[in-house]
């Protein structure tokens, strides 16, 4: 029941280059804009993002986001949880999540 926490780098070790490369991909960015827009920061399942890619590729993308320090993955063995590292990201790169949140509004409410 209690899952193992898979964490990335420490909060102050986040690198802008790694973060921007992570956000450069459409699928990863769509995950991040969705997370940034949800102020409750609740734990999400991996399938709740409806990514149009295979599960192997999803594994890859979530790993990239985790290693960039943007999310935490909680391993339950046969299932996995995703959580945004909001305070860490916000303290290291203030304003970044606001940009992603604005982008989420753009993509969900085209006009």
């Amino acid at each position: 029941m209690a899952g193992r926490n898979l964490v990335g780098p420490e909060a102050d070790a986040l690198e802008l280059g790694v973060v921007l490369r992570a956000l450069a991909d459409e699928h990863r960015r769509s995950v991040m804009t969705e997370l940034a827009a949800d102020r409750t920061d609740s734990e999400r399942g991996c399938n709740s993002f409806a990514l149009p890619i295979s599960k192997q590729t999803q594994t890859h993308h979530f790993r990239v986001l985790r290693e960039a320090g943007l999310i935490t993955e909680i391993d339950y063995g046969n299932r996995k949880g995703i959580r945004l590292r909001r305070t860490d990201v916000e303290s290291r790169f203030p304003g970044l999540l606001a940009l992603l949140e604005a982008e989420h509004r753009n993509s969900t409410a085209p006009r």
Copy 2:
């Protein structure tokens, strides 16, 4: 003497994906952090960035930045000027330049 202005997309047509892909590259990001940190927004020469790459590759990178809408290139024929589109970028992606400016401080004053 008067150079032709090579512009990219309109201010409200900037796309986050294109911008982030442009900023994902180390060399292009170093150019942008330097531009963001210079509040005078003066016109810069292409060689004033001391990029450790060939001039053909520099042409490529500046083109990417221009097509992303981040800079304007001024063509003098046998020389070229670079200028940050600060107000356009700031109005479309508020806070982005502040992130780059902070990164510039990090890279120039390690500790």
